[in-house]
């Protein structure tokens, strides 16, 4: 089949000159290779774009949902652990304040003594002191120097009755501290009210306070655990632990407590009674 194209090519091969018509013809044929796009091409492209947009929006929603779920998985357990711990630590901080009252414990002694006090506490209404509105921060001097002796017992009794009925910072028999929102510092009167030892005078409770300071709460409590508490208990403690008069007076002075000569003589010079 002869064609114009074929004739051009033969001409080109025959001579070395490049006929412009051959090249032009090839270029024209080459240009004819351009084809139109399929009829629905634009529609297909736009449909694909809309599908892509929906996919992107869905992916964003999933990412947001996933982040929310991940946050919930992490935060909720953490809150369940952290919040109760925070609440507990706040409660413990409150309890610790009342345990460190120096009037009641020797330096360094805190809750150990309280545990023993509560174990020897009797649930005997007679021994419980009536509720007091206010407890003085430190036990006052047993007898002011210029006060007549007759007035001292009356004042002592009124002071003794001021001891609060409820434990202040002292745990119950199970070792748990009852909730007492009133921050009244423990005093010798408080201690006396919460033990089996019946305080007849303010002096006796002050003696116990001084002895506790000297001996240490833990040691004293351990010793008291084996004893029957009576009015001889202070003297028994003095002799058991070998406390000298000078040491006792020094400790009393540190606690702003004073004792009469008779009281001191009773404590240190009166022979021990049989238990």
């Amino acid at each position: 089949m002869k064609s114009n194209f074929d004739a051009d090519l033969q001409q080109i091969s025959a001579t070395e000159t490049e006929p412009a018509s051959a090249d032009a013809h090839i270029r024209e044929l080459t240009a004819a290779l351009a084809v139109d796009v399929p009829a629905d091409f634009t529609k297909n492209v736009m449909d694909a774009i809309r599908a892509e947009r929906r996919k992107i929006a869905f992916r964003h929603r999933m990412v947001r949902l996933g982040s929310a779920i991940a946050a919930a998985i992490v935060i909720v357990p953490m809150a369940a652990i952290v919040l109760p711990a925070m609440i507990r630590s706040e409660k413990n901080a409150d309890i610790a304040l009342t345990d460190n009252d120096p009037a009641l414990y020797a330096p360094g002694d805190t809750a150990a003594g309280n545990v023993l006090y509560s174990t020897i506490r009797e649930t005997n209404p007679a021994t419980e002191a009536p509720a007091a509105e206010e407890v003085p921060p430190a036990c006052p001097s047993s007898t002011p120097a210029d006060m007549p002796e007759a007035e001292a017992p009356a004042k002592a009794e009124s002071a003794a009755t001021k001891a609060p009925a409820t434990t202040v910072g002292a745990p119950d028999h199970m070792g748990k501290t009852q909730e007492d929102p009133v921050e009244t510092p423990a005093t010798a009167d408080t201690f006396a009210a919460e033990t089996k030892y019946t305080v007849n005078t303010v002096a006796e409770s002050s003696v116990i306070t001084v002895l506790r300071t000297i001996i240490g709460a833990e040691k004293m409590d351990a010793w008291l655990a084996d004893q029957t508490v009576s009015e001889d208990t202070p003297r028994n403690l003095i002799h058991a632990f070998g406390i000298r008069r000078e040491v006792f007076l020094t400790a009393a002075a540190d606690l702003n407590l004073t004792f009469t000569q008779d009281e001191l003589d009773t404590l240190f010079d009166t022979p021990l009674t049989e238990k």
């Binding site: 090249d23 044929l29 080459t30 240009a31 351009a34």
Partner: protein, 203 residues
Amino acid sequence: MIIQSPERKAVSVEDLSLARQAAEGSDDAFAVIVERYSRLVYNVALRSVSSPEDAADISQETFLKAWRSIASFRGDCALSTWLCRIALNCCCDHARAAKRHRAVSLTVQEDEEESKVLDIPDTDVTAMPEEELTRQTEIAAVREAIDSLPEEMKTIITLRDISGLSYAEIADILRLEMGTVKSRINRARAAVKNFLIERNFFT
């Protein structure tokens, strides 16, 4: 009004405006872009692959990629240049993927494959005028000649002689010097001519 970019083909204000509207989410603006440049992109893709279906897929992928990154088009080149670059990249990706997953058709028979190469229109040839039949045969021969060229020459002759882009546009697309573009086009044309002569395709 044309915005002149130094040493590059200028981007038209209209194209820039369309691109910005499309970046803001206007589907209509992007549809106009597709209508305007789909033939260019499709013919670039068609020269790279063997079937019109693959060419349509590559073209669609080109416009999808363009849509995703339309906000990054700053107008420092013509929109046609930008789209052609994306199309050529998609063709490369397709070629790489085709190499990895060589697919064998289960339905196409061998004789159908041969007739596809010449890509003679599926019409009753007996009813066709002789001149038209000759022309179709010539076109098929040229197509075969171009398909036999190395990729580099195939691309450049497609952009120049099939898609009708200027030397400046081609230089911009392929990031070549103008002289290099002209030289490569001459060599590509000579290669096509030699192919036709050697094959003696036309008897």
